[in-house]
């Protein structure tokens, strides 16, 4: 699959057309359109309350957009349920970490592989050789993923007992376990110190190198500038800029949104 | 759509037999008033802490159970008939029962629900079911499995008698004399006392400081706390008022039907909860409207279909409303997810 993915690099993987989300008269996302290309690290930035997470929720089916269209890999996925979106290959993390606190780190990652497993109820009840083999493979892969994000030593700890940074990494491992082609990261570096941020950006690059397109939300512009190839800037639900980090950095509207009118 | 059909059906019934329909509606409105009193407590508690207080139906029964010995203190026994001297006593006992009931409910909240306020959602729900069994069990232990006879303190006289507008549609031409429709003093008393209580409640909630605190807490507990509202006190007040109304409901029920049993609150509570859901849980006006509608539906069902099916019909409505319109008729909270 990954060979195929890299061959098609540069094609559009996610396409948003006029996506709008209203909550009881409040417009959280207003007619936003952009494309994410296969194989890039794409960033969505904007001040607090700009509607970034709402946009993620519209993409991943947490709620349908009020208007507009979301296409993934050429397929219209507007209004799809979250589990279908995940099955099609979009995984995500959450801004306020949502690991399964009372499952082990290993089980968190094993759960991520749920939709890729084939054991049916009878296999599960009777523990057929097929189910055992599959469990063994899933466990092996879960260990690999924990190693990949660098928290393998916590494999058997309850997720709630992991340190903060490890929980963020666990969420990424769990998302990767769904074998996504597009990974949405919602402020993955929130609460990190500069050193940790650098490490996280290395991890993001490692993920991209595995032919997973990365689409991340970040609050901190400096973090994003180094890591991403293209950026969209959202302010009050409206797209105010799009382009390479250099283009965005020098955009007057972006500066205004971040520093206020006086600047 | 189904509402339209129901209304057409009622109009048809009215055309066929106006006297019967009006008599049925009177029963429905009277019962509905009592359901509304209980429904208010469910909706208020749900509005403020999002808990289905399963014990509320039994708090309603407790009202009647407390009222009987209190009336006994004034020498009123199950054989006593209506006399004007009893009216002030009755009012006094009502107030006393409402207060006692409120205190019981505050205690329940304090002991059983408050420690679990931040626990997983299932915990307070299971505790509420347990509380319901404890209350029922206590009343069972106290009075046993028999129906208690309640004094008939409301006059059995007819408040208003009028000739039915029969024959307007020319459908029941068989009967020569137009039948008389009686509305008893009892029915009028039940409806009036309910209306008075609901008005008092709405004045309290909309005009007083505590009422405002309750509305604020219901909308956003954290924000209310930040604004300096004492959350615990506000929640206690909600439980107190809910139980006071339910206690009044229990007294009214017992006075109207002259009998009360320890397990009355289980079914009645579920019917009242249906009323609260039908009106839109968390919504005070909705609970009153829902109670009235459920009372009328129940009375119509009992007269024109079959009494043994009315619980089935009402619990069916409960499931249907939750599935198809979880916000109820008037709406407020979205109970999904």
């Amino acid at each position: 699959m990954s060979a195929q993915e890299s061959e098609r690099a540069g094609e559009t993987i996610l396409d948003l057309e006029g996506v709008t989300k209203r909550f009881l008269g409040l417009v959280a996302v207003d007619n936003v359109s952009f494309e994410v290309k296969r194989g890039e690290v794409f960033a969505l930035i904007g001040p607090n309350g700009a509607g970034k997470t709402t946009l993620f929720n519209c993409i991943t089916g947490m709620f349908p957009p009020s208007e507009g269209r979301v296409s993934f890999d050429g397929r219209d996925i507007t209004g799809y349920k979250p589990h279908r979106v995940a099955f099609l290959g979009i995984a995500r993390t959450f801004q306020n970490i949502r690991v399964f606190d009372y499952m082990s780190a290993l089980d968190n990652v094993r759960l991520g592989q749920h939709s890729r497993m084939h054991a049916q109820i009878w296999d599960a009840i009777l523990k057929t050789p097929k189910a055992r083999r599959e469990e063994a493979e899933v466990t092996e892969r879960a260990h690999e993923l924990l190693r990949f994000v660098g928290i393998e030593r916590y494999a058997n700890s309850f997720a709630r007992n992991l340190p903060y940074g490890a929980q963020r990494r666990l969420e990424i491992a769990r998302a990767l376990a769904t074998t996504p082609r597009l990974l949405l990261l919602d402020e993955p570096a929130a609460g990190f110190n500069p050193q940790e941020k650098v490490e996280l950006m290395k991890l993001v690059e490692k993920i991209r190198a595995q032919d997973v397109t990365v689409f991340l939300i970040e609050h901190d512009m400096r973090v994003v500038m180094g890591a991403s190839s293209r950026i969209v800037v959202l302010d009050h639900g409206i797209k105010i800029a799009e382009g390479t980090p250099q283009e965005v950095r020098s955009d007057a509207k972006v500066i205004e949104a971040y520093l206020g009118k006086s600047a | 759509m189904s509402g339209l059909l129901a209304i057409l059906w009622v109009i048809y019934l009215g055309a066929e037999d106006p006297a019967g329909l009006i008599a049925t509606l009177v029963i429905g409105i009277t019962d509905g008033a009592m359901f509304a009193l209980v429904a208010l407590g469910y909706t208020m508690v749900y509005g403020i802490i999002e808990l289905i207080n399963f014990a509320h139906g039994d708090v309603f029964t407790l009202g009647g159970f407390l009222g009987l010995p209190l009336l006994g203190l004034f020498g009123i026994t199950s054989g006593t008939k209506f006399a004007w001297v009893y009216v002030p006593i009755l009012v006094f006992v009502f107030v006393l029962v409402m207060g006692l009931n409120g205190l019981v409910n505050i205690t329940i909240e304090r002991v059983a629900y408050r420690p679990l306020r931040n626990a997983p959602r299932l915990a307070p729900l299971i505790t509420a079911i347990g509380m319901s069994f404890i209350l029922e069990g206590a009343m069972y232990l106290w009075r046993g499995p028999v129906s208690l006879r309640f004094p008939n303190l409301l006059p059995d006289t007819v408040a208003s008698r009028f000739t039915s507008p029969a024959g307007h549609f020319g459908l029941n031409s068989g009967s020569t004399a137009a039948p008389l429709i009686d509305i008893g003093v009892k029915d009028v008393a039940v409806v009036i006392s309910t209306v008075v209580l609901v008005i008092l409640l709405s004045v309290f909630i909309n005009r007083t400081k505590l009422g405002k605190a309750m509305r604020a807490t219901a909308q956003d507990r954290d924000a209310a706390q930040l604004m300096g509202i004492d959350i615990n006190r506000t929640i206690s007040a909600t439980f107190f008022i809910g139980a006071a109304l339910a206690g009044a409901g229990g007294m009214i029920w017992a006075l109207y039907f002259n009998s009360i049993r320890f397990d009355l609150g289980f079914t009645t509570g579920l019917i009242a909860f249906t009323a609260a859901v039908l009106g839109g849980i968390g919504n005070i006006e909705g609970a009153a409207l829902g109670g009235l509608l459920i009372g009328i539906i129940r009375a119509l069902n009992e007269r024109y279909l079959s009494a043994s099916w009315s619980d089935v019909v009402i619990f069916g409505i409960l499931i249907m409303v939750l599935v198809f319109r979880p916000t109820g008729l008037l709406g407020m909270r979205v109970p999904e997810k």
Partner: protein
């Protein structure tokens, strides 16, 4: 598993591992107790009545294991569990008695017990699916009230008897009793008065000895425990745990939350239906009054007392509540009266109309509601993880900053 048993070295290692696992120890103790109970009981009392009671307790154990899948694993509060019990019982009663002769069908149906046991399971599970499909997307407390409503509707429908199928309040009697191979009676069996001859084959069946029911029940429970434990540690069990904790995150990870909840609901209903069929067969009588809310609550109390989500705990809880409800509290009035006689409080025995004292026996006989309620409330307040908690629940309910850092790998004892 079999390879392990053949190799003494591996077997010893396995046994050592089990002896350190409290769950396996509980299972071991329960199994030994189950084996020695019938001879011990018949030796002590001279009859097999106690064994029969224990077999009845087994039905409740099965019900509790089933409800535990719904409440403990998937975190769905099902308050209408008795409805599925009723559906199972009526499925058996209708298809294994003369009842349908007086129905619009005009034809009695007598299907064999073993077929009906599974049919009842299937019918109950289907009813669960029909109720669950539209309602499982509702929030937890709304689901609870919907199931409560359903639990009230079903017995009323059986009582009202639409179309004259169920016999209404007259109940269905004369239900076929199952035929169980006599070998299940075991060497301690007492009754062999109902033996039948099947043609040339000398094949004995016993219909009457409670010991046969008991042995059958123990076998069924062992099978269910193994199968449900498999389920718990499978991908489905993991998905249930995830949905219970955070439905949104589970859905985002590709779990079809509605289907996985429906599965738990259906499995719970199937257990209940199975129990219902067995119950109908054992009692040979099914009446609409046997399935009220108290039944649902009793099973819930068993699960809560034992520890939600934890199979050995739930078994202990079921046995404890069964003993409390059907032995201790049933015998209590008589025992209390005897005690009062002994300590010279005979005055309490007679009812007194003036103080509305119903007499000691009556009074004590009214305790069961209160006891059920107290168990629920006290357990939720003081020991919400149950008498034998699952490790996960113990963690969930422990205060912040718990020290226990390692999780027990449920697979360790199994593979």
């Amino acid at each position: 598993m079999i390879a392990t048993l053949r190799d003494p070295k591996r077997l010893r290692a396995k046994l050592r591992q089990w002896s350190r696992d409290p769950y396996m120890v509980v299972y071991g103790v329960l199994f030994v107790a189950a084996v020695i109970f019938p001879p011990l009981a018949s030796f002590a009392t001279g009859t097999s009545t106690l064994t029969g009671l224990a077999a009845d307790a087994g039905v409740w154990v099965l019900l509790a294991i089933g409800l535990n899948v719904v409440v403990g694993f998937a975190g769905l509060l099902d308050l209408g569990y008795a409805a599925f019990f009723a559906i199972g019982a009526y499925t058996y009663a209708l298809l294994a008695s003369a009842q349908l002769r007086s129905s619009p069908l005009h034809q009695a149906v007598h299907l064999p017990f073993w077929v009906l046991l599974f049919l009842a399971m299937f019918v109950a599970a289907s009813a669960g699916a029909i109720l669950g499909a539209p309602t499982l997307r509702l929030r937890g407390d709304y689901l609870a009230i919907v199931t409560l409503g359903f639990g009230e509707i079903v017995p009323r429908v059986f009582r009202n008897d639409p179309g004259h199928w169920t016999g209404g309040i007259n109940a269905i009697g004369g239900i076929d009793q199952p035929t169980i191979p006599v070998c299940l009676d075991g060497p301690w069996s007492q009754g062999d008065d109902f033996k039948l001859q099947f043609g040339a084959v000398n094949c004995s069946f016993s219909l009457s000895d409670p010991t046969a029911y008991y042995v059958l029940m123990v076998i069924l429970i062992i099978a269910c425990v193994i199968l449900v434990t498999n389920l718990q540690i499978s991908r489905l069990g993991r998905a249930w745990a995830a949905v219970r904790e955070d439905e949104v995150a589970a859905a985002a990870m590709g779990v079809n939350t509605r289907n996985i909840k429906l599965l738990a609901f259906g499995i719970g209903a199937a257990f209940s239906g199975f129990g219902g069929a067995y119950y109908g067969a054992k009692l040979s009588l099914v009446s609409p009054d046997n399935f009220d809310f108290t039944v649902s609550i009793t099973v819930l109390v068993m699960v809560v007392l034992g520890g939600m989500g934890n199979i050995p705990g739930v078994i202990l809880g079921a046995l404890a509540v069964y003993f409390l409800e059907f032995k201790f509290l049933t015998d209590l009035p008589r025992n209390a009266a005897a005690l009062a006689n002994q300590v010279g409080l005979q005055g309490l025995l007679a009812p007194n109309a003036a103080t509305s004292w119903p007499g000691l026996e009556d009074f004590v006989g009214r305790l069961n509601f209160l006891v059920l309620g107290l168990i629920l409330v006290l357990m939720m307040l003081l020991r919400p993880q149950g008498i034998l908690p699952s490790r996960v629940r113990a963690q969930e309910l422990k205060a912040e900053g718990a020290a226990d850092d390692t999780v027990f790998d449920a697979r360790a004892g199994q593979t």
